[in-house]
Point group: C2
Chain length 319, copies 2
C-alpha cells in the first residue's frame, strides 16, 4: 500500500540520484559517552553539517532540480523565516534561477541577511499565516514562479528522506531511527526511506512538549493541529501536513516528547562532548534517546538519530 | 639526515599502527565559504573531534602503549593542566594502568574534574614550573611510574605526527600544511610525517602574537624562550623544546603569527559556518590562512590545517 502515500522508496532513490554531488553526504558521528548514557549504540546523522546548516537543503534541492527548464526559468517561491528559506535560496542560486522568499517583517535581520546572502529575493509581509500565504500567492501570480512549501510537498519529502538513505548506507544494521518532527517532512521522508531499505527498522518521532501536535495526533489516531506553540525548538512549531501526517500515522511507531530543559541538556552535551554546534530543534532526537521512556525499549541495540540542523545565534548562551 | 632528529617517518608509521583503533581517524571538513575567503582549497583535519577533544590523545596513546609491561604496571606521570593531562589519563585508563597528574592548585576545578573523570590521580602543587617538576619527580621516585611530558618526547612527537599521516591519506594532493605551535610536538611530528609522505609539501606553523617564541626563533635562526605569554590561545603558551625545535628550525618553512582578534574571528567562523566547536588554540591555523600574508603565497593551491582541539568552557561567549 506504499503507493497510497505522497512518497515511496523509489522517489527517495530518485531524489538521491538527482541531488548527488549537490548536497553533502554528511558524516555519522558517535560518542562512547553517549552510548553509555543512552544504554545502546547511537549514531548521529549530522545534518547540521549539511549545506546551509540543515537537512532542508536536501528537499529544496530535489524540488528545484526536478523543475522543467520552463518552470525553472520563472523561479521558485516560498514563505518561511527558517532554514527552508535559506535552503531554497541556495538551491535556486545553484541552478541559476530566482528564489522569492516571503518573510514576516518581524523576522530577525540576521535571518533576512542569511537568505539574501544566498541570493534570495526577500518580500516582507505582516507576521501571520494569511498574510504570508497571500504574499506568496501574489508572487506566484506575478512571476509564474513555482511554490515550494517547506514540508508538505512530494519532492521535499522525498529529498529529506535521502538523509535516512545515506545513514543506512553507512550504518546498515540500525534497529531504530529517531528524527525530530515539526511539519513532518523529515520524519515522513526518512520513515519511507528507512523502512523501504530495511522493513524491520523501527521509526520514532521526537517532538518538544511545547509543540506536541504530532504526539497528540498519534495518541488520538487522528490529526490534531498545533496551536500556540511554546518551545526553544523554533524549527518544530508547525503542525504536520496533509501529505506527511498519513505516513506518520501509519508508519511511525510513536512520537516521544521532551521538555525544553531536556532539549537544552542534549544540546549542551552535543556541543561540549561531541564538539558539534546543534540548534535546539536538532537536539530533540538525542534528548528523546536519553529519556527513561526510550531507554525502556531494551530490544533496540542501535539507534540512528538525525541531527537536523545547527543554525543558532552565537551571541547568547543557551544554558 | 632525518636520523638526526627525534622522530622520522618510520616512527610515525609505527605510532599509527600502535594506536590504530584506539584513536579516532578524524574527519576532514571543507567549506566553500572558507575556500573562497582563503583564496584556495582548504582542508580541516578535525582533531577537535578526537577523543578527549584534542590531538594530544594521539601522542599520549602512543607513549602509553609503547611502554613495556613492567613499565606500564607502575603507571605514568605528567604535569599539565591542559589537554595532555586528560589525554594521558584516558590513555592510561584504556591500558588499565595508573596516571598520576600534577596540576597547579590554581587550575580550574572543571579541568581537575575532567582529568579525574578519565581516571587520573591528581596531585596539586604550587603554580610554578619548579614546583610542578619537583612534584612530578617525587611521584616518579615514589611509584616508579614513567614521566610522559606533553611534547618534548620522541613517542609523543611521533604520535602527534599521525594526524598528518591520516590527512595525507585522505587528501594526498595537498600543497601545504599548517598546524598550531606551542611546545611544537604537533608541528614537529606533522612536519616529519607530511614531508616523509610527500617531500614537496610546504609546512608552516601558526602561532598567537602573544606567545610568538617559535616565530621569533625561526626569524632569528636560533631558539628563543617564551616569557610572559599573553593570548586567548591558552594551549600555545609554552616554548618549543629540545627535540621539537631542531625539526621546526630545519624543516618548517615559516611560523606565521596572528592577533587574538584574528583568532577569535577564525574561531567564530568555524563555529558559525562549519558548526564545529574549536578552542582558540585550535583556530590559529585558520586565522593564519585568512591573513593577507598567507594569501600572498599564490602558488599554494590547497592547504591542510590541523584544528587541534575543541575544549572550551561553554559558560561564556568568546566575542
Amino acid at each position: 500500500m506504499m503507493t497510497s502515500y505522497a512518497c515511496d522508496l523509489a522517489a527517495v532513490c530518485d531524489a538521491a540520484a538527482r541531488i548527488a554531488g549537490v548536497v553533502h553526504h554528511t558524516p555519522v558521528m558517535t560518542s562512547e559517552t553517549l552510548d553509555s548514557r543512552a544504554g545502546r549504540r547511537v549514531f548521529l546523522k549530522c545534518e547540521n553539517l549539511q549545506k546551509v546548516g540543515a537537512f532542508k537543503y536536501r528537499g529544496a534541492s530535489n524540488a528545484v532540480r526536478k523543475l522543467t527548464v520552463a518552470q525553472a526559468t520563472r523561479g521558485v517561491v516560498t514563505h518561511s523565516s527558517g532554514n527552508h528559506a535559506q535552503a531554497l535560496a541556495l538551491a535556486a542560486r545553484v541552478r541559476g534561477i530566482p528564489a522569492y522568499i516571503v518573510m514576516p517583517k518581524t523576522a530577525p535581520a540576521v535571518k533576512k541577511a542569511a537568505v539574501e546572502g544566498y541570493g534570495g529575493i526577500v518580500t516582507e509581509c505582516e507576521p501571520n499565516l494569511a498574510a504570508r500565504e497571500e504574499a506568496a500567492a501574489a508572487l506566484v501570480a506575478k512571476t509564474g514562479a513555482t511554490l515550494i512549501p517547506p514540508f508538505d510537498h512530494v519532492d521535499v519529502i522525498a529529498g529529506q528522506g535521502t538523509a535516512a538513505l545515506e545513514l543506512l548506507e553507512d550504518v546498515p544494521d540500525l534497529d531504530a531511527l529517531v528524527t525530530p518532527v515539526g511539519g513532518g517532512g523529515l520524519l515522513a521522508g526518512c520513515c519511507i526511506a528507512a523502512q523501504g531499505m530495511k522493513p524491520t527498522i523501527r521509526v520514532f518521532g521526537a517532538e518538544p512538549l511545547g509543540a506536541d501536535d504530532a504526539a497528540r495526533s498519534k495518541a488520538k489516531g487522528e490529526w490534531q493541529p498545533q496551536t500556540a506553540p511554546n518551545t526553544i525548538a523554533d524549527g518544530l512549531l508547525t503542525s504536520t501536513g496533509e501529505l506527511t501526517w498519513p505516513i506518520i500515522r501509519d508508519r511511525v511507531e510513536r512520537v516521544f516528547t521532551v521538555s525544553d530543559d531536556q532539549i537544552r541538556a542534549a544540546m549542551r552535551f552535543i556541543w561540549e562532548r561531541m564538539k558539534l554546534i546543534v540548534e535546539p530543534s536538532g537536539a530533540v532526537g538525542v534528548a528523546v534517546v536519553l529519556t527513561d521512556e526510550f531507554k525502556a525499549h531494551a530490544d533496540i541495540g542501535s539507534v540512528g538519530i538525525v541531527i537536523s540542523g545547527g543554525n543558532v545565534s552565537l551571541d547568547k548562551l543557551y544554558w
